[in-house]
Symmetry: C2
Subunit: 533 residues, 2 copies
């Protein structure tokens, strides 16, 4: 393990451990431009257990000082990261496009989303409700026993391990939603970069590292590692200094991390966003009124970004009949005209092709998108249909096929549509399209979907996740490993906090959020009632 200083904007191929650039001792990987399959320099050498210990030790050492910073200080830190990313946006966008095959417009939007997330959490910090401040005032004269003065606030869990996602090289990677919410909560962050975009990861890692230095945060507040998931990733999650994990990726990867975390002497929470096929319900009135428009819009959502979204509509559930056939025909016609698009990595394209091949054996192929036999990292859209009886009897048809593939489940009647809904696994989203006559059916469906999905949307499409206060990007297992939270939106900060009660703590020692006189002018729950005293 050698260490050098960064002197130029040229990519170094190095990890960043608590502000130091460190060359890994393991196997070296290169990013691949999936559009050309050209290897991109530089090489990124994998780190090992020594690097994990260096990063976690630095994070643990930084934790005390970092969590002691006030909300304003951390807000400025997050805003500085955002500003640094914007200052380097041209280089970041160029590299991210080359590493992901995603178009400039999409990556430009992702830069905005990433900086927007950081600024959202800066606003959350300044608003202050994240402290969860509560005060139950002493009742010295209460009988039969007096009541002590008891106050409550939330404290950060400790250093957090974040695993970058393949499909959002910025918004769910090094400075993405998990990192922003954990840093906001007061937790140092160690990111394991995704192999698909090491250069983008380095550039964003530098933006954070520069912000750490510029705003005077402890160096161990942030580290960036490269490594082989089953080795370095497992070492990170099982390191006793790590206190929580954020992950976006496959079901197998997520469940492996959950298992590793549960097997620790001290188990820790893992927030894994894993797998969802996002059912869409075009109800009879909607189909009667606009089957063809819905079919075309559906294909637009399905093929967006080569279908590489967690919220991609991979399932359509409807009552069979002529209106559904019109929907299917319009969708099939629209899909047939789509041109092939580049997927994120050759591996992802291979898994997509295999998933589509399996579906084509089990279900009826309604349409395929256009092909490009000269390219291998390519997504060719796929639309299948199946009757609900077969779907209900299948063990495999609910498996996510990551990419622009969807399955239409044709139900006999409303009762069978309800059966299919009850048989669904947990989902990130569920979408309902309605006409004026569908209100009763939609009410029944909504009650069922509340127990199946984290977000329910009407008369729209699930791709496109708004970053705000009311958003939930989460849902029952296996869409995530923990349905009680979200990985997008301001509520995400709560994943990295726990409550502490302070009983009769002397006024001079009380943390500001629960101090007498409410010096931070917070909304606080006083004897159970919200006040801003």
């Amino acid at each position: 393990m050698t260490s050098t200083a960064a002197t130029t904007p040229t990519l170094t191929g190095q990890m960043i451990i608590a502000g130091e650039f460190v060359t890994g001792s393991g196997a070296a990987i290169h990013a691949i431009d999936p559009a050309t399959e050209v290897r991109l320099d530089p090489a990124y050498a994998y780190g090992d257990a020594t690097d994990v210990v260096a990063a976690t030790t630095a994070a643990a050492a930084a934790f005390g000082a970092y969590r002691a910073t006030d909300s304003e200080t951390r807000a400025v830190f997050l805003e500085t990261i955002a500003a640094n990313i914007e200052a380097g946006a041209d280089i970041i966008i160029e590299r991210a496009c080359a590493e992901s095959g995603l178009p400039v417009g999409r990556i430009t939007g992702e830069v905005a989303r990433t900086t927007g997330q950081l600024r959202l959490f800066a606003a959350v910090l300044r608003e202050g409700s994240w402290h969860g401040a509560r005060v139950d005032r002493a009742l010295p004269d209460r009988t039969p026993a007096p009541r002590a003065d008891i106050r409550q606030r939330k404290v950060p869990l400790g250093p957090v391990a974040v695993f970058g996602a393949s499909n959002f090289p910025l918004a769910f990677s090094v400075a993405g939603g998990d990192t922003a919410s954990a840093l906001a909560a007061g937790c140092p962050v160690i990111v394991k970069a995704h192999d698909a975009h090491p250069g983008t990861s380095e550039l964003v890692g530098r933006a954070i590292t520069d912000a750490v230095a510029a705003t005077g945060m402890p160096a161990g507040t942030f580290s960036l590692l490269y490594g082989y998931g089953p080795e370095l990733g497992t070492a990170l999650v099982t390191d006793p200094r790590i206190k929580a994990v954020g992950f976006t990726g496959s079901r197998s990867g997520g469940t492996a991390l959950v298992r590793a975390a549960a097997g620790r002497p001290e188990p820790i929470p893992v927030y894994a966003e894993m797998s969802s096929i996002n059912p869409v319900y075009p109800l009879p009135g909607a189909l009667a009124a606009r089957a063809q428009d819905l079919g075309r819009e559906f294909i637009g959502s399905l093929t967006l970004g080569s279908g590489q979204f967690c919220t991609n509509p991979g399932l359509v559930i409807a009552v069979d009949g002529p209106d559904l056939e019109r929907f299917v025909s319009a969708a099939a016609a629209a899909l047939a005209t789509t041109t092939p698009t580049t997927m994120l990595t050759p591996n992802i394209a291979g898994a997509y092709a295999a998933g589509v091949a399996e579906l084509s054996r089990e279900a009826t192929t309604e349409a395929r998108g256009q092909d490009d036999p000269s390219a291998s990292t390519v997504c060719r859209g796929a639309l299948f249909s199946i009757d609900a009886d077969t779907f209900l009897a299948s063990e495999t048809l609910q498996q996510e096929v990551f990419g622009a593939s969807s399955l239409i489940v044709k139900c006999r009647d409303d009762a069978q549509l309800a059966d299919v809904t009850e048989a669904l696994e947990g989902q990130l989203t569920a979408t309902v399209h309605t006409g004026p006559s569908d209100l009763g059916a939609a009410r029944d469906l909504l009650a069922r979907l509340e127990l199946k999905a984290g977000r329910i949307l009407f008369n729209g499409w699930p791709t496109g996740v708004e970053v705000g206060h009311a958003m939930v990007h989460g849902g029952p297992y296996p869409s995530t490993s923990d349905s009680r939270t979200t990985s997008v939106g301001s509520l995400a900060i709560e994943r990295f906090l726990r409550p502490v009660a302070y009983q009769d703590v002397p006024a001079d020692l009380l943390p500001a959020p629960i101090a007498d006189g409410n010096p931070e002018h917070l909304w606080r729950r006083i004897d159970g009632q919200l006040e801003r005293d």
Copy 2:
């Protein structure tokens, strides 16, 4: 499995499954009066997997209608349970005293705590913040893309399994904190009664069952089972209809449930409150000013209720010296005069004696309470001391000895006291005693203890857990299996909820908490700001 109707207040020895009295088909147990070791009638026959399926099926069937009840309806239901318990208090108290060996005053207080908890959650329901209502208003003119209307509220997880605790036959048993918070959240509850107090469990189970009927809740909202933990308990936790678990008991019992829940096809959260030794820090200034008073008060807290509290002060950590010796001498003298008290069960008394015997081999015995050789279910207080070097090197001295036993750890200096603190496992509570000169040391200690304990108290004693809004009865592993929450106090309702986002849902379909016009007059977060519109 036979079923009969309840006609008299006489104990039936039967389980209650969705309002039906059911006789188990398994081995029969009796409660034992631990003071006399007399077997108490009637026999309680264990249930089996068939009973588990009957209860969970009824709970799943009840869930839809139960969660659809409004806050006021559920508040009245909880208040009716409380009123029913009060109406039967004389019989409940008599039976609970006989089954637990706890004195009438203690059990009378526990009745009040139990009904108080139920009424606290009724107030939480009426206040309404538990919905977590958020509204991000649509921005149709936003560029580059409009923003949809997105709203958020929390929904209940589903049927909850609750395991009654041995040491609180009322407040942490059939109608205890876990049941009250889960019912408040909208979750049906299935309680596995603790073998130590089956009669008390039946009486309280009837109070709930009567309230279910009187307030028109679905019958499956509540069931009460008896059974062998490793069989019936595991069957309950691994039943796919169960969506969360509340448990108070031993570390081995809790970790077994956590493991069973994690191994399910759909893992579920387990809230297990397991093990804590609750360190007490008499700082130098406090010892200088009032060593002897503190020593006497400490023994009062230690021996309360035979030390059978989760928050019992099982560890004292202090810098060695003459003032600490005065504390130890006063404590030893006070302990030596204590009379032996009855423990909850012969098993608990046996485990206590074994734990004390092991401590006596590893540490110096400072004092023992008085003995009663004629009784076997007896607690004889025990006070040990050890030097911090030995404590730090030991793998076993942090293990909880459930009962009135405590260990004094004598530190060389402040630095070693900090080392001992860092070496502690997670705790429910930590207590600091200060004099005027201790403020600086206390500030440093408080920052360390925030990461080790769920509740930090100054100049008091940890036994006695106030039920309120700011209380945290929880803490880092192994004090609980999930540090992000509490099992006492109003925040406990959040354990059984998850957020759902509603995007562009038609106004007629929006649930009342997030409906236009705020019909429930709730505090809601509108575009990130708390409002009561």
